[in-house]
Symmetry: D3
Subunit: 323 residues, 6 copies
């Protein structure tokens, strides 16, 4: 059963994958089960089991496929489930099948990436990038990984999608500024977030790994690039320029960059990364606000961003109001 087909008020009987389950405590002292359930399309729904028997509370459902019965509830426009039963299903799904996925097909995105790699003219830059992409940690994973835990492009294939967005913006930047070394900027776009493959884990959801907390994707990515440079015997200067782009792509020290951009390509990479991540997040935030607009049209306060997002009519049906 697809989550999008669930209607408020119905009683259902279905199979889902548990993205994350935990025990919470109600104000009255009772414990209950709170779980995120996913269908095979990547859609998710929140479920509560308020009078769960002790043997249920004692189980760890995270990552399990389960058969459930539930009543469908609605709260401020979004539906959730009040569970009556939950049991491990006979047939367990592949956990990543149920994660949300990038819209473009993986094969198509890999094809686009390949064109950019092929377009790199400098043989040593090309060799480094091929070595990174053939690294056993990367090959086969790049197309599955998200670009972030939850903020932006947090979908299977999100890292590849985010990378391609940077590459397409880089094409224009290289046209506008002939002083920019196209091979370096293209290479920087491809590898800038490659450390995310180690920083984040993909299971029934996306989580930080111990390496992610202790080393971080910037240094993990730099390490992968440095290893590739070494493997293909890349010159010192090109090695430094490639590593520098990875290390400085957050732009400012307070945003986690151990060094700040010291080349035009590194500066460009940082700002293209901002365009891709910030515009994507703004689009998502406006969409979330559109689901709960207040009467004044001023949107509701978004604590994370310290602002109201504006929805209006134009944002919903594409046509401006005609007052």
């Amino acid at each position: 059963m697809n989550i999008s087909a669930i209607k408020s008020g119905a009683s259902i009987n279905a199979t889902f994958l548990v993205g994350e389950a935990k025990i919470a405590e109600a104000k009255n002292g009772n414990e209950y089960l709170r779980a995120i359930l996913r269908d095979k399309t990547g859609d998710s729904i929140l479920a509560f089991y308020f009078s769960a028997p002790p043997e249920i509370l004692a189980m760890n459902f995270t990552g399990k496929t389960v058969d459930i019965t539930a009543k469908v509830d609605e709260y401020q426009g979004s539906v959730n489930l009040k569970l009556n039963s939950i049991h491990p299903a006979v047939e367990q799904w592949d956990v990543t099948d149920s994660l949300p996925k990038a819209e473009a097909p993986v094969g198509e995105m890999l094809g686009e990436l390949d064109e950019y790699v092929t377009g790199i003219e400098d043989p040593e830059v090309a060799a480094v990038i091929r070595a990174v992409l053939e690294d056993p940690v990367v090959a086969g994973n790049l197309e599955r990984w998200p670009a972030a835990k939850s903020r932006h492009h947090a979908v299977v294939g999100g890292l590849l999608q985010h990378t391609l967005e940077l590459l397409k913006l880089a094409d224009v930047v290289c046209d506008l500024y002939p002083e920019i070394d196209r091979d370096l900027l293209v290479a920087g776009c491809i590898v800038h977030d490659i450390g995310k493959i180690i920083e984040l884990g993909v299971g029934a959801g996306f989580q930080y790994t111990a390496e992610g907390v202790m080393v971080g994707h910037i240094v993990l990515g730099d390490e992968m690039v440095a290893r590739a440079c070494c493997a293909v015997d890349c010159s010192t200067e090109t090695t430094m320029r490639l590593r520098h782009m990875v290390l400085s792509h957050h732009g400012e020290k307070e945003w986690g960059a151990p060094v700040v951009p010291s080349t035009a390509e590194a500066m460009a990479l940082h700002h293209l990364d901002q365009v891709s991540s910030q515009v994507r997040q703004a689009i998502n935030a406006v969409e979330r606000s559109a689901k709960r607009p207040d009467q004044s049209g001023a949107g509701s306060w978004d604590r994370q961003w310290s602002r109201n997002w504006f929805v209006g009519k134009r944002g919903r049906d594409g046509s401006a109001d005609s007052d």
Copy 2:
């Protein structure tokens, strides 16, 4: 005589326009004249008149075309002039003839801009933009104005060049994110810095005007857009969306935005503005560093940016070193 033809050690006899002249005092207590001289190509050279007679010190040469005789000196790789005489020339040049100019021809840039205007599909957005461009303050000036006093695109035609850079980046952004309203983003790119036409004055150089200091280009530009919206009877929502892009394009309050971006188009506009202005500045800064590299290759400290810019060999001859 073109400044690029001046050779160290020569004695010259030439006509230039004085960009800015002032009286300075040497440590020994003597006053001398210090002037920036420009030729008709926009090139400039620094000139000193160390034992200037009192009647010369009493004159205001700024904006004047002058005949000079001088000895050409060289200091750390750049030439300057030690004046022996300076007199107003018989024939005075048009001051803007001697200002640095954008590389692309004005006509070509205006043509490109016109295509973007023509491409706006929403009739009321198109009407607003046309009204702004036909505003007497804008028409005839847009193609002459710089985008900043000195930081980036500080050339005749720089505002138009900067605007076109944003528009070309916006094309990709609209392709990548179909949720973005292309008409609004294109309109925002065109008008985001339009207030610079009032904020800055173009004379023998670029200076802030009193309006620039007291009101600032963000509010001055918003006012021009609001007036145009009013003139073409634009709907309330579209008016707000257009004004909001101008008002929020600096992105954060501490960078001078009275409101922060609350729509996806405003967020995109801010980051595209960053790409255009920051990449251009980084390229300029690396070029300046390349003229005075230190022996370690680490570049010299840039106080304004709090960093060393990296030059290297790749930055100079396009080929990496082969160590």
Copy 3:
């Protein structure tokens, strides 16, 4: 029934206006109604309807006058209502009747303001201020508007009250510093927050409008002043000085001022605004703390202000302790 007459433990039967109603969800998954009720004096009380029937949860009570029955509860010294029934009243009140109001009578405050306007000696400054006050957006609204959504002077007439506080402080400033141009400072005080009339909406409570979020009261107020200057053909310099005071009155860019104070009058205006808003907020915060003092006399932590407010005995009965 006046809210101040409600006693803990009583059962009541009364008519109130609903300032704001929303559906909340208890930890046990049940939905309940949470509403702010107001009487005709502007006092408010919090009310909960825990087992509200579905038809009640489906209604939008905000701004409605309602008949209710309830049990009066007390929690940590403040009373609230547990509703047993709620129904729209036959006779609906004017929503603003129930909003909190400034203490001084409106007529008296308008009279005081008028004296300040009459006292402006420079004819063009006087003309601009009269034009602003006669603007259809302002006339009839100035005396009703609050100075903020909730922080300070958030009462009907609060904007006028706040304005008069600045004017009285300005009198002393002008006496102390003869260099200050009294006409300009008086004018600045009158118009500095005039944009609040568009930024905020007055309904069953005070909310931000879409214009407030997208343009903000600083630019909205500047626009009203600029329009008035234009209408009375005010000189360029005086126009700039008046607009500059509005635009810079938040004092620093990170506090939302698009330009920082560049004249002595603008600097004075900013700091007088601080006195009025901060002292008022401190008085309110100490009063709130006085209702829940801890045993040590150290007050309780105020998260918004990151401090404990001190209450003591002197703060309560006007006499110091005699230990």
Copy 4:
């Protein structure tokens, strides 16, 4: 001879007091004497002795009264002296005679202060304030001290002048906000900067003392108040309230306040201090800018304040331009 009578180009022969003298080195390696000379009115002028004989360079002229001969020079609108000779004068002046002084007569200011002290109704607050003013460190010094080394009210009597400005603003604040305890706020204004009498030294100029650097005026003033409270056996709560006002009057920790304002009186005191110090500084800065306006009317950049101060015509002759 009064400095205001000195004309450019003249040769003079006069007696002045040396505010501060030091040896500087010209770029050519020569040492010269650089001194600030004061007349008896508090006016000062800069003097250079470029070919001073070694015995002159070896002397310490600071604080000495000297006979000089000099040529009067002019540079960018302000005159300075090129010394030909300098010798200790037979009759040495009292150094403070030559310091700049507050405009109002000391006796008048002390009278005004006395009225405020007399107006304090609470007997223990009055006793504390009288004890502070009779402290041997304060009595006889308060009327001579400046309120700061150079930023604002840096004149003999400046501390008293600054204190009276706060008191007059406090009158209005107490009228506006009856919740404010007038006795406490008046007392706070009187003692808030009393520690400056120890922090700063008054000699041939104003300097920081060792206590000023090591303890600071905030804690030094608190100590004087605490001692007075102890001497008059003031109650614990009133003592805390008085000390708290001194300790928190800088308003924020990053501005040097060891505790932030926790009472309404402390909050008011902080903001009144801001009005007095900031408005005075703005007036001074605009006056300095008025002496060197640029052609655009935009003023010249003030590095300390990170802004251009606007001068205009209204700022100079009291009448707006009539364009």
Copy 5:
């Protein structure tokens, strides 16, 4: 009964001291009692009384010794109590008996401190320190006080323990840097937090006092040192150096230091204080995280510190994993 002996699932009948009790409200509108109970070892456990009768809710249990009956619950690895009854015990304990205590015996710690005092060679520094330690506020309290309300060394004897940690680190600093004046640094370590004895109150728990909020431990401690210096007639310079260490030990103004370190000893003191307080807090935070590790080994997010603390295996059993 010792809290460490309580087992999940059991029913108990025991006597504890109530550290802090308050009435909370469940989402369903019911009020319940929430209390921190302590045994005589200083261990504490959270207890809830969900259906407490009105007469219980009306009582103030804080600081009382109580007899309780309860069911032991477990939630995410930590036990808590669901109370069935609570009554004041016949025999009331001394409240400090139940507070957590430093591990080292008080006598031993006092002995160590005494050795440091005896080791001060400069007679006037030694006299000041002895005077501070014999101050009636200090003598008999120093060994009982905590070093903070909750952040670090928040145990009976914690202030002494924290002081000794600084002293032992100071020994090494003095060995490493012979330029450091050992007597001053030792004295600074002993008195740096002495104001905590007034800032914090020790009752059934640790709370801020009114003096703590209004004056703060930095100024309170400085006052005690200044009084001692005065009493023993200490020279001006040594007095300033000792007071300066107390006043500047928070290192930066934004961390509450009214003056920043201006001597090498003050700089050393600040950083030794950081070592002691930060390392202790990090150890505590890792221990707390170890109780609720997530599956990835990345620890759980600590909002106060804005980071995940890493636990791993080495942190738990002393041996690294052998993968």
Copy 6:
């Protein structure tokens, strides 16, 4: 000739090493040579050649040993040289011979370090540290390198000296906090700044290398540790813990740490690094201030540290004043 033997007023004839030479321009437009000269003890003196002939100005003396003749000048208590001639010496010195050196003999410091290495009990931690120390980049260089370009421990052997200071402080920390893993903290101290060996170059002075600017010592050091861990097949957890200490040792992101301390050992390492670097800098700054005290005893303003350093009498002769 040793620089310490140079007397003001003398004419000398000597051989020195040029640490850094550059061409400067006097205000009168003349170019001159400015050089830092070093003797074999590491002492340095500033030298000027004001009328240097063109062939001298055209030479690059940096790193050369030169024979000079000069007049000794004195300026504000420090001597400098006015050169009359400068020529490359026949015998060129080893450039590092003339750099300032750590006080303790290198052999002694290496011996102390070796004891710490030997004291590491965990075999895999010990193996990693030995591998780092035997890395060809490190072996033979560690004892020669400075710990910083100029801020602290900027002497030959400074890195080793700084490392030993941390280790000695770590001994106390391990005694005070048994929860700290001694092997890890000792290892962290040894390797925390090991990347400085690549970040800085040691020639005629200390400069940043290109790798230093582009990658930075934090990541360069992490890379060396990661390589060593890999070489000795260290477990994943220990590898992460060691790398994490290097990566987080600057403590906060804005200070350049790509990750913040997430283990108690990393937190300790950061603060011990602060003690060593800050106390050393404070001692140096007070010593510099002692050479130019002002009359008030308040020291002179140190722009880099935004404070006055206090000198006093105790700071100079070890005895307090007896006023």
